[in-house]
Symmetry: C2
Subunit: 135 residues, 2 copies
DNA sequence: TCTGCACCTTCCCATCATGGTAAGGTCAAG
DNA sequence: CTTGACCTTACCATGATGGGAAGGTGCAGA
């Protein structure tokens, strides 16, 4: 099938399919006489795998590792589990950071009357308070 | 003071200070005879405001709005509160999405023995299951 | 005065995943 | 033969940030 149908079936844009090929995440596609790329079951499966991993927030490097493990029939599930747990820890870290930001903002907003006077604890907090959240 | 000291005092890199100037987030700095940029209290205050807002996850567009409100003595705190609450809602959305990703991964990892056999529910999940989390 | 060093200037390039667009080739249906 | 949908490559853009080159400035010490 052509790249457009592969895109529709997997939810990965044609643009990105070509990009994944160019960076070696997927092998060079077969070409027809017309020079159009030609995809089969195997490619669709691989692209679907990539999309689902991205939906779960894995980075491209992590996906590269997962694809390697996926294709390795000798791999132990322990390797995959370790990679996954490391990613879960990253997600926890991001969630915690966003939660801290949220808490700081909510505290400032709570202290703000939200009326028409120019006094505003939010602005004052941004203008001078040393906040604790960091990237 | 020179840009290096302004950077040290505010935690904003010299590179970014020049960048903020180029995109109009801060006014063009005064120049000395040497053509070096020259900063004073006011600039330091403004840069600190920007850094703290970034630490709290505000986008550049949001920061632009906050700076406008900060400098507007006629602004009502209601405007600032509304912008902040909108940002809190964005944070909530991100936190929820990350939580869903985490939940899906944790479920898969729990079902994975993590031993040396190649069977792995995580890989199987990525290979075929339709997952619900979306960006 | 000369030298060295720390600092500054502008300009260009790179990241990362993704999208847009332009110029042109392929193919099937009418 | 034309039209339209599809494909190809190639270039540019995003947004926040950093890296680095080439060259000017300013100060302290020999």
């Amino acid at each position: 099938m052509q790249i457009g149908e592969a895109s529709r079936l997997t939810g990965v844009s044609a643009k990105m399919i070509r990009h994944y090929e160019s960076i070696g995440l997927i092998p060079n596609a077969d070409r027809r006489d017309s020079n159009y790329r030609d995809y089969g079951h195997h490619d669709i499966h691989r692209l679907g795998f990539i999309r689902r991993a991205r939906d779960l927030g894995f980075s491209m490097d992590e996906i590269r590792d997962l694809l390697r493990l996926w294709g390795d029939t000798q791999r132990s599930s322990a390797d995959v589990k370790a990679l996954t747990q490391s990613h879960i820890a990253e997600l926890d870290q991001k969630i915690r950071l966003l939660g801290e930001m949220r808490h700081t903002l909510a505290t400032l907003a709570d202290a703000c009357d939200g009326d028409h006077r120019p006094d505003c604890p939010i602005i004052e907090g941004l203008a001078g308070t040393e906040l604790h959240a960091r990237n």
